[in-house]
C-alpha cells in the first residue's frame, strides 16, 4: 500500500505535467481556428451532456496535419532544424570534449573551480547572454571592430542574422550540457587503465584512442542527446541571432502561435516535433539504461 503510494507520486507528476498538457495540445491540433477567445473551436461544454460531447468529437479532424504536408515550409523547417541541431551537436562535441578532458586532467584541487567556471554563465539570464552575442556579432559589434582594427578585414563581416551566428549562439549556450557529462565519465576513469595501455605498448595517443575514447562514450552520448534534443526545438537563438533565411521549427511554431494566432496549426507542429524527438529520446534512455547496467 505504502509502496504503491510512493510509486504513484512520480506517475501522478508525469500525468499532471506531461500527459494532460500533451492531451490538451493534441486536442488543439485537431481543432479549427476561430476568431474567438480562446481562438479555436470546438470547446468542450459539459452542460449539454452526452450529445454535446458527441457533437464535440465530430468537430475534431486531421485537417491541420494534412495542411502541414501541403505547405513545404513545414517539412523544410523540420529538416533544417534537425540539420542545425546535428551540426551544432558535432561542433559542441568538438569543443566540449577537449574542455572536459582538460578539466579531468587538471590537478584535483582545481577541478571544483573549473566546474564552477563552466556553470557560471547559467547564473545570468539566458536572454541577456544571447543579447550580448548580438552586441558582439553585429556589424558594428566588438568582433567586427576588432577585426577592422587589426586590419584583417576592410569591411565589417555579416555574421549576425546568418546561420553562423545561430551556430555560435547554440554552441555557446549548450556547451555546459556537453562538457558536464563527458567530464563526469572522464573524471571517474581509473588512471591505471592508461598506465596498463602504455605498459602493453601504446603510445600516449594510441592509449587515448583505444582506452579513453571508448570509455568516455557514455558521457559523449549523453552530452550529444542533451544538446541535440533541445536544439531541434530551439526558438530564441534563431529568432535573435538568425536571419530571415534561418529556418527552424521553433520559430515557425512561435509565428503560428503569436503572429498568426493559429493555435491549432501551431499545436499540430508541436505534436509532430514531439514525434520526431521521441525516437532520439527513447534511444537516449536505452543508452542510459545500458550505461547503468555496465556500471553495476
Amino acid at each position: 500500500m505504502r509502496r504503491a503510494f510512493i510509486i504513484s507520486i512520480p506517475y501522478l507528476w508525469l500525468v499532471a505535467l506531461f500527459l494532460i498538457p500533451f492531451a490538451i495540445v493534441f486536442k488543439l491540433s485537431l481543432s479549427d481556428p476561430a476568431v474567438a477567445i480562446p481562438p479555436y473551436v470546438p470547446t468542450l461544454d459539459l452542460s449539454t451532456g452526452w450529445t454535446g460531447f458527441k457533437d464535440f468529437l465530430s468537430q475534431l479532424d486531421m485537417e491541420n496535419f494534412i495542411w502541414l504536408t501541403e505547405d513545404n515550409l513545414y517539412w523544410k523547417a523540420y529538416l533544417s532544424s534537425v540539420k542545425i541541431a546535428f551540426f551544432s551537436t558535432v561542433f559542441t562535441l568538438l569543443i566540449g570534449f577537449p574542455i572536459a578532458y582538460g578539466m579531468a586532467q587538471a590537478p584535483k584541487e582545481w577541478q571544483a573551480t573549473l566546474m564552477m567556471l563552466i556553470i557560471l554563465p547559467f547564473w545570468t539570464s539566458f536572454l541577456i547572454r544571447v543579447y550580448a552575442w548580438m552586441g558582439i556579432l553585429s556589424n558594428e559589434g566588438f568582433l567586427n571592430q576588432f577585426l577592422l582594427w587589426t586590419g584583417f578585414i576592410s569591411e565589417p563581416l555579416q555574421i549576425i542574422n546568418t546561420n553562423i551566428a545561430v551556430y555560435i549562439g547554440i554552441v555557446y549556450t549548450y556547451l555546459p550540457f556537453m562538457v558536464l557529462p563527458i567530464y563526469a565519465t572522464l573524471e571517474k576513469l581509473d588512471p591505471s587503465y592508461l598506465e596498463a595501455a602504455e605498459d602493453l605498448g601504446c603510445s600516449r595517443t594510441s592509449a587515448f584512442w583505444s582506452v579513453t575514447a571508448p570509455l568516455s562514450k557514455p558521457g559523449v552520448i549523453a552530452g550529444c542527446f542533451l544538446v541535440f534534443i533541445p536544439v531541434v526545438g530551439e526558438f530564441v537563438i534563431p529568432s535573435l541571432l538568425g536571419g530571415s533565411r534561418t529556418l527552424m521549427i521553433g520559430k515557425v511554431l512561435w509565428d503560428e502561435f503569436f503572429s498568426n494566432r493559429d493555435w491549432p496549426v501551431a499545436s499540430a507542429v508541436a505534436v509532430i516535433l514531439l514525434l520526431i524527438l521521441v525516437i532520439p529520446i527513447i534511444l537516449f534512455q536505452k543508452q542510459q539504461e545500458r550505461a547503468q547496467e555496465a556500471e553495476s
Partner: protein
C-alpha cells in the same frame, strides 16, 4: 637437488639484468623508497615482501616507468632506463588493481598488448587461446571483465601481462584473490613458465609461503629500505635482524645480554635464565642481543629433558591449526614462549592440556643471536 644450483648472485662475474643504484623516491616530503640498491639477475624469480605501504609497488612502478626515481638510477642490461618511455620498455606489469579494460572482452584484453607488438596478426588468436588455456578461462573468452569473478579477473590480468612474453614481468600481488588450491597451481604454472621462457620475474606478495615456494631470492622491505635479501631458506633460517625474523614466519624473540662467549658459542642471560647459543661472530661481553628461536624448533616435554637449553613453564593456551598445534607456554619468570608440535595423534589424545606444567628445550644450534 640440482648439481649446478642457480645462484648468479654469488658469482662475481655475473652481471645483473636489473640494477637499482641508490634509488630514492619521494612523494613531497614523504620518502617512499630510501636510497635503495638492488641487483636482480636474469631468470631470477625475485620476491618482495614487506608490510603494507613499505614501498613495494613504488619500486615496481619505477621499474615499469610510471614513476621517475627522485635520485639514483635504474639500469636494464647495463643501460639507464630513465629516458625509455613505458611502452618501449621490455617490461610488463600485472597491476595490483588488475586494470582490465572494462570495454573489452577477456580475449580482447589479452590480445591488447599483442596487437601492439610485432607479432603477425595471424598468430594473435592462437596466442590468446594459449594464454586462456594457461589460466583456465577458455570458456570466459567472450565475457566482459564485470561479468567474471574477482579471482577470474586476476587470472585475466596475469594472462594479459604474460601474453607479450616480456623480458621482465612485474607481478604486484598476482595471486592474492585466488583460493589456496588455484593459487598453488598458478604458482607452479608461474615457475613452469619461468623455466620455459626464462622470463625474469619480480613478484610482490603478502604470502610468505608463496614467496618461499616460488622465489629464487626474497627481499624483505621495511619503510622504503631493504632489510635483507637472501634465498628463501637463508632468510628463514638466518635472518639478519629481529624485523626480518619476526616478519617471516613465527618466532620467539628473547631479549638478553651476552655474559661470556667465544666465536663458536656464547651464553646469554635473560629474565628466564641462561641460553647457550652459537653466534655468527664473537660477541663482546655485555652486548645487548635478541635471541630468535622458531616455535617448531622448541621441544615440549613433560619431564626435564637432557638438552643444552631447557626451561620450565606451564601451558597457557593451545592454538589448534589442524596439522600442527601451537602451545603458548608461560615460563616461571612470566615470559610467553611458543612451541609448535605436529599433531600426530587425534585432538582428544594429545599429551598436554591447559595449565599442565611442561619443559621447553632446544639445542644450541636451533636459535640465532641477533644484534639489530
Amino acid at each position: 637437488m640440482s648439481t649446478d644450483p642457480f645462484r648468479p648472485w654469488e658469482d662475481p662475474q655475473a652481471t645483473p639484468l636489473i640494477r637499482f643504484e641508490n634509488v630514492t623516491k619521494r612523494f613531497g616530503a614523504f620518502v617512499a623508497v630510501d636510497n635503495l640498491s638492488l641487483d636482480i639477475y636474469e631468470k631470477e624469480f625475485f620476491a618482495l615482501l614487506g608490510a603494507s605501504g613499505c614501498g613495494k609497488t613504488t619500486l615496481m612502478r619505477m621499474l615499469a616507468g610510471f614513476e621517475k626515481p627522485t635520485e639514483g638510477r635504474i639500469t636494464l642490461n647495463g643501460v639507464d632506463i630513465a629516458p625509455i618511455p613505458v611502452n618501449k620498455r621490455d617490461i610488463n606489469m600485472m597491476f595490483q588493481s588488475y586494470a582490465l579494460f572494462p570495454h573489452l572482452t577477456v580475449a580482447d584484453n589479452i590480445a591488447f598488448g599483442l596487437k601492439r607488438s610485432d607479432m603477425p596478426k595471424a598468430e594473435i588468436a592462437g596466442r590468446v587461446d594459449e594464454m586462456l588455456n594457461l589460466v583456465q578461462l577458455s570458456q570466459f573468452a567472450k565475457r566482459k571483465p564485470h561479468q567474471i569473478s574477482g579471482g577470474q579477473r586476476q587470472r585475466v590480468a596475469l594472462a594479459r601481462s604474460l601474453a607479450r612474453n616480456p623480458k621482465v614481468l612485474l607481478l604486484d600481488e598476482p595471486l592474492a584473490a585466488l583460493d589456496k588450491k588455484l593459487r598453488q597451481e598458478t604458482q607452479f604454472e608461474l615457475m613452469d613458465i619461468q623455466g620455459k621462457l626464462g622470463t625474469t620475474f619480480m613478484i610482490v606478495t603478502h604470502d610468505q609461503e608463496e614467496a618461499m615456494t616460488v622465489a629464487s631470492r626474497v627481499a624483505v622491505m621495511n619503510a622504503g629500505v631493504i632489510k635483507q635479501i637472501a634465498t628463501p631458506d637463508a632468510i628463514y633460517e638466518r635472518p639478519n635482524s629481529a624485523y626480518v625474523a619476526d616478519f617471516i614466519g613465527e618466532v620467539n624473540l628473547i631479549d638478553g645480554k651476552v655474559t661470556s662467549g667465544t666465536e663458536k658459542s656464547c651464553k646469554i642471560i635473560w629474565q628466564g635464565g641462561t641460553i647457550t647459543a652459537q653466534p655468527r661472530a664473537k660477541l663482546a661481553k655485555g652486548t645487548e642481543v635478541r635471541y630468535a628461536i622458531r616455535p617448531e624448533k622448541v621441544v615440549i616435554s613433560a619431564s626435564k629433558p637432557e638438552a643444552t637449553n631447557a626451561i620450565k613453564g606451564k601451558v597457557l593456551d593451545i592454538a589448534y591449526l589442524g596439522n600442527i598445534s601451537t602451545y603458548h607456554v608461560e615460563t616461571d619468570s612470566g615470559q610467553i614462549i611458543k612451541a609448535q608440535l605436529t599433531n600426530v595423534r587425534r585432538l582428544s589424545q594429545r599429551s598436554f592440556a591447559w595449565e599442565d606444567p611442561v619443559w621447553l628445550s632446544w639445542t644450541e644450534t636451533a636459535g640465532i643471536v641477533l644484534t639489530e
